[in-house]
């Protein structure tokens, strides 16, 4: 098995903007190639240290391989090529679309729950299961999805060692604000109302209670996102 260590080369490639999938595969290929070159050298009678050095010489230095990889634009990660799109626009659009999707699912489950209720007229209502499902989906859209998208952005940025701090910060703040100003409400029929209703909107207020509520909801996204980033950095900075 090869003793050649390409971890430092891998880290440099990622920091320089080469896509991690190319880096991982290239390191595996270099390692396999190096092992075979070492074996060739041993068969020529070289001792293990000299065989390793000979293999490394044939493969080329880290600098040469890095230079060649950086001269190949198709190997650059999307995050390096389009940081605003990957770290800001895509997560914001994704957050809005996934919120809309969960609301659509809530409507769908309401219809299913109502149909089940109509099919069993002895029941007095569609039941707590369907109520919990639709309410859960609306809460997911408002409280959970912005946080999930913020965590995803952090994971993406750390895995590619992206250093566009301004874009990253803006992205997390926008996601937090989207979650904090959006109101979704799914109301089931009760004794006074015969039809369900969906309320969706964006609200701002200068009322102190609203401002505190807004700040708390922002912090619920920003705090965990940056804590997750710190954890990821400590865990993965030196691995590929």
């Amino acid at each position: 098995m090869s003793e050649l260590d390409f971890r430092s080369l891998g880290e440099r490639m990622i920091q320089a903007g080469v896509a991690p999938r190319h880096v991982r595969r290239m390191l595996a290929e270099l390692s396999e190639h190096g092992a075979q070159l070492e074996l060739d050298a041993r068969q020529r009678g070289l001792d293990p240290v000299a065989a390793r050095a000979a293999a490394r010489e044939v493969l080329g230095s880290d600098e040469e391989i890095l230079t060649r990889a950086l001269a190949t634009p198709s190997l650059r990660s999307w995050g390096t090529r389009w940081p605003v799109v990957t770290m800001l626009l895509a997560p914001v659009v994704g957050c809005c679309l996934s919120g809309a999707l969960s609301l659509a699912l809530a409507v769908l489950f309401y219809q299913v729950g109502t149909s089940a209720h109509l099919a069993a007229p002895d029941q007095t209502s569609p039941g707590p299961f369907w109520y919990a499902l639709t309410t859960g989906l609306t809460h997911l859209a408002v409280y959970i999805l912005p946080l999930l998208w913020a965590l995803l952005v952090m994971r993406y940025a750390v895995s590619r060692r992206l250093t566009a701090t301004g874009i990253l910060l803006l992205s997390i703040l926008v996601l937090a604000v989207i979650g904090a100003v959006t109101n979704l409400e799914f109301t089931w029929p009760d004794g006074t109302r015969h039809q369900a209703s969906i309320g969706a909107g964006v609200g701002f207020s200068t009322n102190l209670v609203w401002v505190i509520h807004f700040a708390v909801r922002c912090l619920v996204v920003v705090g965990p996102a940056f804590a997750y980033r710190q954890w990821l950095v400590r865990r993965t900075w030196h691995t590929v």
């Binding site: 595969r25 290929e29 396999e32 190949t72």
Partner: protein, 112 residues
Amino acid sequence: MEHPASALTGIVSELLILRLLSEREMYGYELAKTVLALTRREIRLREGLLYPLLHDLEQRGLLRSRREVVAGRSRIYYRATARGNRRRRRLTEQWQRARQAVSAILEGAGHV
């Protein structure tokens, strides 16, 4: 701007790789050894530099790859695609025209 010599080396490397991988699939080490053997060791590449080129050619749709585990190690085999073969034919024609042009100058230089 890329130095003309390195651009030429890049085109030659691409042509050699596409030519060899149009015949059969190979993995990096095998490809490097085949180039050495067929060129009687006249063309000796830094073998580690093959991989960025192979990945680039694959990204451009000129090669396809498959992974196989051999003796517990993952090995990636490459083969030229139909698009890669079309590119190889174009590069071969360009290379032959360039070679003829250079030969004409080298052989005729003494008669000017």
